[in-house]
Symmetry: C2
Subunit: 143 residues, 2 copies
Amino acid sequence: MKRALFTTPQEVEAAFYEAFEKGDLDAMMSVWADDDDIVCVHPGGQRLAGTEQIREAWRQIFAGGQALQFRLREQRAMNGMTLVVHSVYEQINAGGEARARQPVIATNVYMRTENGWRMIVHHASPAPAALESEGKRTPKTLH
Amino acid sequence: MKRALFTTPQEVEAAFYEAFEKGDLDAMMSVWADDDDIVCVHPGGQRLAGTEQIREAWRQIFAGGQALQFRLREQRAMNGMTLVVHSVYEQINAGGEARARQPVIATNVYMRTENGWRMIVHHASPAPAALESEGKRTPKTLH
């Protein structure tokens, strides 16, 4: 596994999305703290906890082989001394899909460890369609 | 507004769910840090940022008047010096509903402020049905 040393949360975040785009499992896991309490929630997915579950899910995602491109926007940062939280919108483009995907809301948490900054939480959920027209805040009804 | 002083993240979390159950808007907002960067994502919802948006959403939720009861399980805590992250499952019972609701996965982040510990992030998303039978990990198809 690569022994990346990240000196800022921002570097970890960039490496996370780069590994995601490349489908590089080793690079992805080098972004995460090696800890039983790390948590990853993919959009619509179950909570994954600990290195083993999180690695296996990424292995399955990357085995799908779909090339994704991420553009982040509206980052909000909340900075502690040893923990930092970023809230972002992920705008995802998938190769071969004509229509843009719904944006994803992600909460990313980084921790300062003995081995530099690492990711400890990635919680992602689909943003509702209303985002595209801020004036229309009424929730979609299901009929 | 109540001037609660929370000395631990656990106290904030308890107060958050108590205010949610009671539909008490002032108590709910006393849990949150008063900051432009606080973030709240309700299940399936848009990202709300800052005190004003977050308060207005709680006002609308509480205006609905539905009594909810929360039971938290499988809490995982990641502790920094000034920020603490809790990942929990919310088991929600709604008055008048015969069937139990799907659990919700929540990432709650707390910050130590001049006014004690406060909530700065609540990111909630529905857990998929597969939770109830861990062996069946196949995603639900939409047909």
